[in-house]
């Protein structure tokens, strides 16, 4: 396994030119996410309209190429989708990232095997190589966990 598997061109592209970077002004909903292992912090701001559609979202804060590109791809994939669709994306992405942890005997995502196999993760597939680097999974999922928290808070 070479580094090229981790650092695909598309990842570096999102890292160099992150999409939806910055912070939406209030009244957008704002959530901070922490990677407890490395100290990276992201700020997600999101607007969901009355129909439950993600009208806009932006990512701020600092992070490595993996967390930044993953968050960038996430914003591109989620923007304009419904909250329900967003959650499906989150599940699908975390399933992809959890193959490794399952091997470690952690069956927390067992039920996710039933996720729609046709859901197209698109560019996000490029992050597949991350599962070979367990410590970096936390990087790749940082933005996603923060999005989950935001959606939970908005629907609470």
């Amino acid at each position: 396994m070479g580094l090229e598997d981790l650092y695909r061109e598309i990842i570096l592209d999102h890292y160099r030119s992150p999409r939806n970077r910055g912070e939406l002004p209030p009244p957008a909903h704002r959530v901070e996410g922490f990677n407890p292992l490395c100290g990276d912090e992201v700020v997600l701001t999101i607007e969901v309209d009355d129909e439950g559609m993600v009208k806009d979202l932006k990512i701020g804060g600092q992070g490595c190429s993996i967390s930044q590109s993953s968050a960038s791809m996430m914003t591109a994939a989620i923007k304009g989708k419904s909250a329900a669709e967003a959650r499906e994306f989150i599940e699908a992405f975390k399933t992809m990232m959890s193959i490794h942890s399952k091997e470690l005997g952690d069956d927390e995502h067992g039920e996710l095997d039933q996720i729609d196999p046709d859901l197209d993760l698109g560019d996000l597939e490029a992050l597949k190589g991350v599962v070979q680097y367990p410590v970096r999974i936390k990087c790749a999922t940082l933005g996603w966990n923060t999005l989950t928290q935001a959606l939970d808070e908005l629907s609470a």
Binding site: P36, G105, D106, D107, E108, Y133, P134
Partner: protein, 411 residues
């Protein structure tokens, strides 16, 4: 078909040692600590020699391998215990720390003046002292389930004892009497009374197949060194909701999500309860221990111990009659291979000292169960305890050593 004990013995290097001019070691103190198979010792050595690094932190190869080795072992130990997920398993340094963890987090935040905690008269100090400490701070009441004459829990009065109690904390198997307690029944009684239950599995996990999901406990603790694992490692099992609701125990690295000069937030379970650099090599060693136990088979181990305990009770009674008292249940099927004995008038310390000359290793003392000893009317007993590597020859050696002690002190 039974265990092939002579092959098993070869896996345990201490058992190949001799003492006192060539006497082979007859190790009968496994309730105290077990011997370790070579595979466990080697797993730790290999860890230190090939992938030693701190976990959850490094982005380099050996750090990732160390993390995988540790978290992989967590998964295998969780499976061995019948847990639903490895997130239900918190590693501690021993069973004692596990119980203190519960007392300090769940206990101190849920127990208030006048609340009751129910213990039994056969508990190890590890179950007693933490609740005494909470009692001193919070003014809670401790209630004690008494024992029958043959060393079983006397549940006659149990309804009154658990009435209004917040917790029932008890051992799955006595480290003095060998009594195997009705764990499922007791956790059910606790639940019906609206109390939580804490099961001390220190003597259960090494000797009987354990399935925490079926036992019905809210908290379940165990210790590595009694189950072929290394020192310095133990565990606490609880369901995710239970662990999530508990405040943290020790503060420091690994257990945080964020720290500022103003405060801190905790990370997810189980790491929330694992402050500081974990006992990495010890977790790896414990993983190798459950691999070994699984390969031999827990049911086979239990079967072997029942038979060997029966052999011991029978032959020792035949040889010594009324000179020898063996505490606890008479029936091998309702007890583990733990035999607390009193022989003639010989003080246990003197008895075990003479036995040592014969290479026979027994523990003398209160076995960290002073309230029980008081109930038995003794300060101390000598205790012989069995494991998968013991055989009938070891029991015969025990009998011979008893005989020798009797002669030495025959004034």
């Amino acid at each position: 078909m039974g265990l092939n004990v002579s092959e098993i013995k070869k896996d345990f290097p201490v058992l190949g040692q001799t003492v006192h001019d060539g006497r082979r070691i007859v190790y009968l103190d496994s309730a105290n600590t077990s011997q370790k198979p070579q595979s466990v010792i080697d797993a730790m050595g290999r860890y230190y020699e090939t992938i030693n690094a701190n976990v959850h932190r490094g982005t380099y190869k050996i750090a990732e391998e160390a993390t995988n080795a540790m978290e992989g072992a967590r998964g295998r130990v969780a499976t061995f215990l019948g847990a639903n997920s490895s997130r239900e398993l918190v590693f501690t340094k021993n069973a004692t720390e596990s119980i203190n963890l519960v007392a300090n987090t769940w206990g101190r935040s849920n127990l208030n003046e006048g609340d009751a905690v129910v213990l039994t008269m056969m508990e190890h100090h590890a179950t007693i002292v933490p609740w005494h400490m909470v009692a001193a701070e919070k003014g809670i009441e401790l209630r004690w389930i008494p024992l029958t004459a043959d060393g079983q829990l006397d549940l006659t009065d149990i309804d009154r004892l658990v009435d209004g109690a917040k917790l029932v904390s008890f051992t799955a198997m006595s480290n003095v009497l060998g009594t195997i307690n009705p764990v499922e029944r007791l956790t059910e009684i606790a639940r019906s009374a609206g109390a939580m239950s804490l099961v001390d599995g220190s003597q259960h996990v090494p000797h009987l197949a354990t399935n925490v999901a079926e036992l019905g406990a809210d908290f379940f603790v165990f210790t590595g060194h009694k189950m072929l694992g290394p020192t310095g490692i133990g565990g606490l099992w609880a369901q995710e909701e239970t662990l999530d609701a508990m405040p943290p125990f020790l503060g420091g690295g690994e257990m945080i999500l964020n720290v500022t000069t103003e405060g801190f937030t905790t990370t997810e379970i189980p790491w929330k309860f694992e402050a500081g650099t974990p006992p990495i090599a010890e977790i790896v060693g414990l993983g190798a221990a459950v691999d070994y136990l699984t390969a031999v088979g827990m049911d086979e181990i239990r079967q072997h111990e029942v038979e060997l305990t029966g052999y011991a009770l029978r032959t020792l009674h035949d040889r010594f009659g009324d000179d020898l008292t063996i505490h606890g249940p008479a029936e091998p099927a309702s007890r583990g291979g733990v035999m607390s004995i009193q022989f003639k008038d010989i003080h246990p310390h003197d008895l075990t000292q003479i036995m040592d000359q014969n290479g026979v290793c027994l523990r003398a003392g209160h076995h960290c169960a002073k309230p029980l000893m008081k109930a038995l009317g003794a300060n101390a007993t000598a205790r012989a305890s069995l494991y998968l590597y013991n055989d009938e020859a070891d029991i015969d050696a025990l009998g011979d050593a008893l005989e020798a002690s009797g002669e030495f002190f025959d004034f």
